[in-house]
Amino acid sequence: MAISRLPSDAFEPVHRGKVKEETFFRPSLTYWQDVRRRLKKNKMAMIGLFTIIIIVLVSIIGPVLAPYSYSEMDWSATNKPPSAKHWFGTDNLGRDLFVRVLYGARISLIVGIFASLINLTIGVIYGGISGFVGGWLDNLMMRIVDILYGIPSLIYVILLMVILEPGLQNILITLGVAYWLGMARIVRGQILTLKEQDYVLAARVIGVSWWRILLKHLIPNSMGPIIVTVTLSIPSAIFTEAFLSFIGLGVRAPMASWGVLASDGLSTLQVYPFQLIIPAIAICITMLAFNFLGDGLRDALDPRMRK
């Protein structure tokens, strides 16, 4: 019999005090550590992130190290194909395309990031007020958003650009003004759902002021979708800027933006296709990188994915 193999003290009782409440089931990860872990596991998002970092670094350092400036013309070397001397070749004025693409990256990133920050600010304030106050004000504010949403944003971006002088500053203003609608809707939706959460009710029962509820409870918990929306709005801002510059409403020569480069390259497409293809590829890679990162962030931040 199995019992006979047991040591003689086997059935002695184990003396212990009260069972303590100290067992932690789950590894101790804060929300953001958890997000980072999931993001790291997502290959596409990591590729996107690294691409973005490389683009940022190169666009900052590259022009400093390059032997040419973006506006320096060399009449002896116009329309040169890519070579060891000019990595991406030169344009019809003999300007080095590599340096110009790097400068374009600066402008694109500036536009993307600042336009997103502007629409973040407007969107969070507008959507926050709308969702938080609720009632008729919410109704009114959301109907205004609906009406603006009905107009294709490109139309009033173009209209605004025609009224304002083309230039970097005005592009930022235009994009900021045009793209906050989505952000406002998302923030409002978040606030509306969070407002009914038990922990917000608990805070109200305690007597926490509205201001503190907004700052401590509502905003921190809606950070996830806000970050995703910001990340995903960067590529669309970059693209809109490129488009505006392409049709001549954006950045003006000799400033180099990817849209300007593509526009310049278009006229010589049949003879020197690289002049169009290179900026086009730059736009594609940047947009893809931001979109990958944004999608990865969305998966990483989604609380439903939490185990």
């Binding site: 047991l6 003689s8 059935f11 002695e12 009782p13 184990v14 069972v19 089931f25 789950r26 185990k307």
Partner: protein, 340 residues
């Protein structure tokens, strides 16, 4: 000899997550006889639902996987069947109903279409035949004016009515076994009473075996003939309902019975909760899984996992206390001294 309908042998199911392997079911062996209602009770995370899903082969994979074991229905090993054959068995031989009747029905199909789909797949019934059978089924589960109800969509039905529809669908092909995973947890008490009454009635009339998964001991006492108590992925006690309720052997079963208040008690009795929490199945468990919460824990409990053993006719338990009792009773201790 009673007719064994379903026999599960040493079933082990794990979920492979980022943090490691979660052993949700750790060697479960059970059987269900013909016409019998077996209750599986335990707390959330004890593996009772995973056991049921493993029997149906509905474990989401990845991350889940049935590691070893066999599930045989009439001697046919379901785990070895190809997917196609298994699909035929699901619904035809075994039906399942879930906790949430809201999400288990397709909102864009009418009830008639959804029942018709089951009938067409398993019985080849089409058109008028299918409609007639559907009406019959809805009548059987007590849905008034079934002809009109067939044309309606799930959102026209209340929670209790939806659960009735789910039962009708599960019984559409007169399966031998009905697995009900917390069928009344999402329902109100008066509706729960209706559904339990219905299931009891159906079992008697159709001779369907039932596996009822629940945490409500009252429901088990009402409906089941035999009870299986699970803890941390293992069966820790099983036996006839009377044995489990009146003569529990495992401290966990005793604890469960003592921790719930009874409606019919006159004197107020202090509830005796089970201290602590169920273990995390991701860490490897040493000894008896219940030992950190057990008031009778002994040294052996910390070191070795007890085997499940007979403590009476149709009553088994997995606890070292039973060994201790036996050791005291007979000459085993004597034997030990001799060995020394």
């Amino acid at each position: 000899m009673v007719d064994k309908l379903l026999e599960v042998e040493d079933l082990r199911t794990s979920f492979f997550t980022y943090a490691g392997e979660v052993k949700a079911v750790r060697g479960v062996s059970l059987h269900v006889n013909k016409g019998e209602a077996v209750g599986i009770v335990g707390e959330s995370g004890c593996g009772k639902s995973v056991t049921a899903l493993s029997i149906m082969r509905l474990i989401p994979s990845p991350p889940g996987k049935i590691v070893t074991g066999s599930v045989s229905l009439y001697g046919k090993d379901l785990l070895k069947l190809p997917i196609k054959a298994m699909q035929k068995i699901r619904g035809k031989e075994m039906g399942m109903i879930f906790q949430d009747p809201m999400t288990s029905l397709n909102p864009v199909l009418s009830i008639g279409q959804q029942i018709g789909e089951v009938l067409a797949f398993h019985e080849g019934l089409k058109g008028k035949d299918a409609a007639n059978r559907s009406v019959e089924l809805l009548k059987m589960v007590g849905i008034p004016s079934p002809e009109e109800r067939l044309r309606q969509y799930p959102h026209h039905f209340s929670g209790g009515m939806r659960q009735r529809v789910m039962i009708a669908m599960a019984l559409a092909c007169s399966p031998k076994l009905l697995i009900a995973d917390e069928p009344t947890t999402a329902l109100d008490v008066t509706i729960q009473a209706q559904i339990i009454e219905l299931m009891n009635d159906l079992r008697e009339r159709l001779d369907t075996s039932i596996i009822l998964i629940t945490h409500d001991l009252g429901v088990v006492a009402k409906l089941c003939t035999r009870v299986i108590v699970m803890y941390a992925g293992q069966i820790i006690e099983q036996g006839s309902t009377d044995e489990i309720f009146y003569n529990p052997k495992h401290p966990y079963t005793m604890g469960l019975l003592k921790s719930v208040p009874r409606l019919d008690e006159i004197e107020k009795r202090k509830l005796v909760p089970i201290a602590g929490h169920p273990p995390d199945l991701i860490s490897s468990l040493k000894g008896c899984a219940f030992n950190p919460r057990c008031e009778y824990a002994m040294k052996i409990c910390l070191r070795e996992t007890p085997e499940i053993m007979d403590v009476g006719p149709d009553h088994k338990a997995r606890c070292w206390l039973i060994n201790k009792e036996r050791a005291n009773e007979d000459d085993v201790i004597q034997g030990q001294k001799n060995v020394k």
